[in-house]
C-alpha cells in the first residue's frame, strides 16, 4: 500500500549534530561538498571520510539508515563506475581481452568517483536525518532572505515547501482511499498493457486533482482568515540562534578544508 512509503527522513534525536543551527548545517553541508570536489587524490578524499565519519558517529543515526540512503542511487554509481572503468585508459593496463581494456587509471577513477558520490549522499542524508523538514525549510528561507532585495521569493518558496510537507501525508491517504473506492467499483489497475494501465489511472487522478484544488481553496481561505498576507512584517515563533558550538563546528570544517588543500598541494595521491 502507498501508506507504507515514508516521506521525510527526519530521525529525531538530541545529538550535537541535531542541535546545530540549521543555517549552519546548511553552510557546513555546502562546505563539505566543496571539500569533496576540491580533493584531487585519495588522501584528500580520506579527509572527507574522516569528517563524515566523525559527524556520523556524533549524530547517533543508525548505520542501516545511512546505507539505505545510498540504495536508490546505487544503479547510477554502478553505471558511472563501469563507464570510468572501460573508457579511461590512462595508467598501466591490467586486463586486455578483445576490445575490453582495463587500466589502473580506470580502476582508480572508478573507485574515486564512486567514493565521492557515496560520500556526497551520506552528507546530504545526514543533513536531512538530523534536521526536521520544517526547520530545514525555515533555514532555507532565512539563508535566502537577503536575496529578497533582488525580488527573490524566499518566503514564498519556503511557504510552498511547508504546505507541501504538510499535505503530502494527507494526499497519500486520499489516494489510497480513492483507489480502494474505484477498485470497489471494479476498476482494474493491475492488468493490461501500458496504455490500458495509464487509462486506468484516470478514475484516480481526476478525483485526486479535484480534491487537491478544493483543499487548496479551503486552505487559502483559512490562511486569509488568520491574517496571512505574505512574508512582509512576519515574525516567527522560533528564533534561530547560533551558539558557540556552531562556530566550533565551522572552525573544524574550515580546518578540514585547509587540510585537503594542503594535501592537494603536497601529497596529491
Amino acid at each position: 500500500m502507498i501508506k507504507d512509503i515514508t516521506i521525510g527522513q527526519y530521525f529525531p534525536g538530541k545529538s550535537a549534530v541535531h542541535r546545530l543551527d540549521p543555517r549552519m548545517k546548511l553552510l557546513l553541508t555546502v562546505l563539505y561538498i566543496v571539500m569533496l570536489f576540491i580533493a584531487k587524490g585519495f588522501l584528500g578524499l580520506a579527509v572527507g571520510i574522516i569528517y563524515m565519519l566523525a559527524a556520523f558517529l556524533m549524530s547517533g543515526i543508525p548505520i542501516r539508515m545511512m546505507l539505505k540512503s545510498v540504495k536508490p542511487i546505487l544503479p547510477i554509481i554502478v553505471f558511472t563506475g563501469f563507464l570510468n572503468l572501460f573508457f579511461i585508459t590512462t595508467g598501466d593496463p591490467l586486463v586486455e581481452w578483445h576490445f575490453i581494456k582495463i587500466t589502473t587509471g580506470g580502476l582508480k577513477t572508478m573507485v574515486f568517483m564512486a567514493s565521492r558520490i557515496i560520500l556526497l549522499i551520506f552528507g546530504t542524508s545526514l543533513l536531512t536525518y538530523t534536521t526536521s523538514p520544517i526547520t530545514l525549510t525555515d533555514a532555507i528561507e532565512r539563508v535566502m532572505s537577503p536575496l529578497k532585495v533582488i525580488k527573490f521569493p524566499a518566503h514564498e518558496i519556503a511557504m510552498m515547501m511547508t504546505i507541501a510537507l504538510r499535505f503530502i501525508p494527507t494526499l497519500i491517504e486520499e489516494t489510497d482511499k480513492i483507489m480502494s473506492a474505484q477498485k470497489a467499483r471494479g476498476a482494474d489497475m493491475e492488468s493490461g498493457n501500458v496504455i490500458k494501465r495509464a487509462k486506468a489511472l484516470i478514475p484516480i487522478l481526476i478525483p485526486l486533482f479535484v480534491s487537491a484544488f478544493r483543499r487548496a481553496e479551503e486552505l487559502a481561505l483559512a490562511m486569509e482568515c488568520r491574517c496571512y498576507h505574505g512574508g512582509e512584517g512576519r515574525t516567527r515563533l522560533k528564533q534561530l540562534k547560533t551558539a558557540p558550538r556552531d562556530y566550533v563546528a565551522l572552525a573544524v570544517t574550515v580546518l578540514f578544508i585547509v587540510a585537503v588543500i594542503l594535501l592537494n598541494r603536497f601529497l596529491p595521491i
Partner: protein, 286 residues
C-alpha cells in the same frame, strides 16, 4: 450459512514495524441474506477495516471470509467475480466521481462488470430513479451538482452493479437534516424493493435506530455484540462508555426507568416513545 460469514478474521496493520496494530481481532460473524444491519463503533474500533474485507479490498492476516458460501482469496481468479457481489460505498463517496456526465459515472461499475450497453443503460436509469435523480440530470457533469445530489450519484454508481450485499460507510456524514433523511429513505426503499442485504456503517445512533433491524457493535477490534436493536440499546451505559451515543429518546427513557417508572421496552424511536407514554398513561389511569 449466511451471505457473509467470517471465521476468526484477524487483520494486522504494519506488521513488523513499531506501528503494528491489530485492527480486526478474531471476528466470527454470520450475516443472513436480506438483513439490514447497522455497524457501529467508535473511530478506530475496526469497523472500516472489517467491511473492506467483505469485498476483498483487504486480505485477512489470518482467518477466512465467505461471501455467498464461497471463500474469498481461495481462488484468486474468482476474486473479481465475488467482489461484484458486494458493493461498497465509501465515506464521502462524492469525492470519487470523475466522469464527464452523471450517466457515465454511474456506468463505470456496470461497464467494469462487462455488461452490455443495453443492460447497463437499463440499470443506470433504474438506479437513477431509485435514488431520485431526475433524467435530465444524467447528462450533466457530476461536478455541477449539489452536495446531496453528488452523493446520490455516487451511491447509484454502486447500486447499479446490483450487488447481493450493499455496504455503506457513513452515508449521511456532513449532510443537512433533509439530506440525511433523503439518503436514509432511499436506503430503506432500496432494501424494500431489492430485498438485498444492506450493511450501514455509522456512528450516528439516530440514523441506525431509524433504519436497521440488527446491529453489530465493534469495540477495540472485536465484536462487542451482534443482535437486534432493543438488546443493543439496552446496553446504553456500555455503549456510552465506548464513546458512542445512544439516541436522545433512549437516554430519556433510560433515565425515567432509573427514576422508578416501570416498563420493559427499549425505546429508540420517537414514534415508539410516544406510543409508550400513551400506553403507560392509560395503565396509570386504570
Amino acid at each position: 450459512m449466511g451471505i457473509i460469514r467470517t471465521e476468526d478474521l484477524t487483520y494486522v496493520y504494519g506488521e513488523g514495524t513499531p506501528f503494528r496494530k491489530t485492527a480486526v481481532d478474531g471476528v466470527n460473524l454470520d450475516i443472513e441474506a436480506g438483513e439490514i444491519v447497522g455497524i457501529i463503533g467508535h473511530t478506530g474500533s475496526g469497523k472500516s477495516t472489517l467491511i473492506q474485507h467483505f469485498n476483498g479490498l483487504l486480505k485477512p492476516t489470518s482467518g477466512k471470509v465467505f461471501i455467498d458460501g464461497e471463500e474469498l482469496f481461495a481462488d484468486k481468479s474468482r476474486l473479481k467475480e465475488i467482489r461484484f457481489k458486494v458493493g461498497l460505498v465509501f465515506q464521502y463517496p462524492e469525492y470519487q466521481l470523475f466522469e464527464e456526465t452523471v450517466y457515465k459515472d454511474i456506468a463505470f461499475g456496470p461497464k467494469n462488470m462487462g455488461l452490455t450497453d443495453g443492460e447497463a443503460d437499463k440499470r443506470i436509469k433504474e438506479t437513477a430513479r431509485l435514488v431520485g435523480l431526475k433524467p435530465e440530470l444524467l447528462d450533466k457533469s457530476p461536478f455541477e451538482l449539489s452536495g446531496g445530489q453528488k452523493r446520490r450519484v455516487a451511491i447509484a454508481g454502486v447500486m447499479a452493479m446490483e450487488p447481493k450485499v450493499l455496504i455503506l460507510d457513513e452515508p449521511t456524514a456532513g449532510l443537512d437534516p433533509r439530506g440525511r433523511d433523503r439518503i436514509l429513505g432511499l436506503i430503506k426503499e432500496y432494501h424494500a424493493e431489492k430485498g438485498t442485504t444492506v450493511l450501514l456503517v455509522s456512528h450516528s445512533m439516530e440514523d441506525v435506530a431509524k433504519t436497521v433491524s440488527k446491529i453489530l457493535v465493534m469495540n477495540d477490534a472485536k465484536v462487542f455484540m451482534y443482535s437486534d436493536r432493543s438488546s443493543v440499546f439496552a446496553k446504553a451505559d456500555e455503549l456510552t462508555a465506548m464513546g458512542l451515543t445512544v439516541p436522545q429518546v433512549t437516554r430519556v427513557f433510560d433515565r425515567l426507568r432509573a427514576m422508578g417508572i416501570e416498563f420493559d421496552d427499549e425505546v429508540f424511536s420517537i414514534d415508539y416513545a410516544k406510543d409508550l407514554v400513551l400506553r403507560l398513561l392509560a395503565e396509570k389511569r386504570r
